[in-house]
């Protein structure tokens, strides 16, 4: 383990960008490519938006926690809420599945495309934790 951080903030829409900037500045410490950085920002954006929109039903009173761990050639990102959780994670992760007609149901698909692995722990009524990992191309 090279470095880590933990960031907590209320479930307000403004903070999706805050999470993105912090994770990007953190990931930049191991000199990723621009595309790798874009991928990480995209994945964090999806997971944090989900915590706010679904986990807390757009209420600004929840707390979202984002953690990052940097290894020599990989990053792990954790996004956690103590919101309403999901009954069926498998179904939730299917492309184009959404419980909200205004949304695309592509959040988890994007996370899976952007990162090398995505796993989700969720307990109805207790909350959700998304764990994502990305390996960086070796250039050193």
């Amino acid at each position: 383990m090279l470095n880590r951080f933990r960031l907590e903030f209320p479930s307000r829409p403004d903070n999706v960008g805050l999470a993105r900037v912090t994770v990007a500045a953190f990931a930049a410490q191991i000199d990723p490519t621009l595309e790798e950085l874009d991928d990480i920002k995209g994945a964090v954006s999806e997971a944090v938006a989900n915590a706010i929109v679904h986990g807390y039903d757009n209420s600004p009173d929840g707390v979202v926690t984002v953690e990052g761990v940097l290894y020599g050639d990989a990053i792990e990102v954790f996004v956690e809420d103590s919101g309403k959780g999901m009954e069926d994670v498998g179904q939730a992760m299917e492309p184009e599945f959404s419980t909200d007609p205004e949304r695309l149901g592509l959040g988890f698909s994007f996370m899976q495309t952007f990162m090398d692995s995505v796993s989700v722990d969720s307990v109805p009524g207790r909350g959700t934790r998304v764990v994502m990992r990305k390996q960086f191309a070796r250039r050193h």
Partner: protein, 117 residues
């Protein structure tokens, strides 16, 4: 976040900055208001000044397109930087839209109705 041009029957939405949950509600409302008020048929999104867009933002884009598609309207996109192009591809929006090298070209082609004939 948004500037709107309306040329003939084409509405051009110039988006700015990072398009995520922070701006999605305001963006949706502004676009819906414009679509109601203006006698437009086609919709063009100019992403030239967009550095980031996530699935929340793409939902707003796609939702507005669905509104105009019902009346035979078409979707144009322009100014796609790599991260924006990537998610437009992933979401399938690139398949249902036409890409142009500038918004004025989009207006000329879609507004001219040429490709419609």
């Amino acid at each position: 976040m948004l500037e709107i041009d309306s040329v003939g029957d084409v509405l051009v939405a110039h988006l700015h900055g990072e398009i995520d949950l922070k701006v999605s509600d305001a963006l949706r409302e502004a676009l819906d208001r414009a679509l109601e008020r203006l006698p437009v048929r086609h919709l063009v999104f100019d992403f030239g000044d967009v550095s980031f867009i996530d699935s929340t933002g793409l939902g707003v884009v796609l939702g507005r397109y669905k509104k105009v598609a019902g009346a035979g309207g078409r979707l144009g996109v322009t100014g796609l930087r790599p991260p924006v192009r990537r998610v437009l591809e992933l979401s399938g929006i690139l398949r249902i839209s036409q890409e142009f090298s500038s918004w004025t070209e989009a207006v000329a082609v879609l507004g001219g109705g040429g490709a419609d004939a």
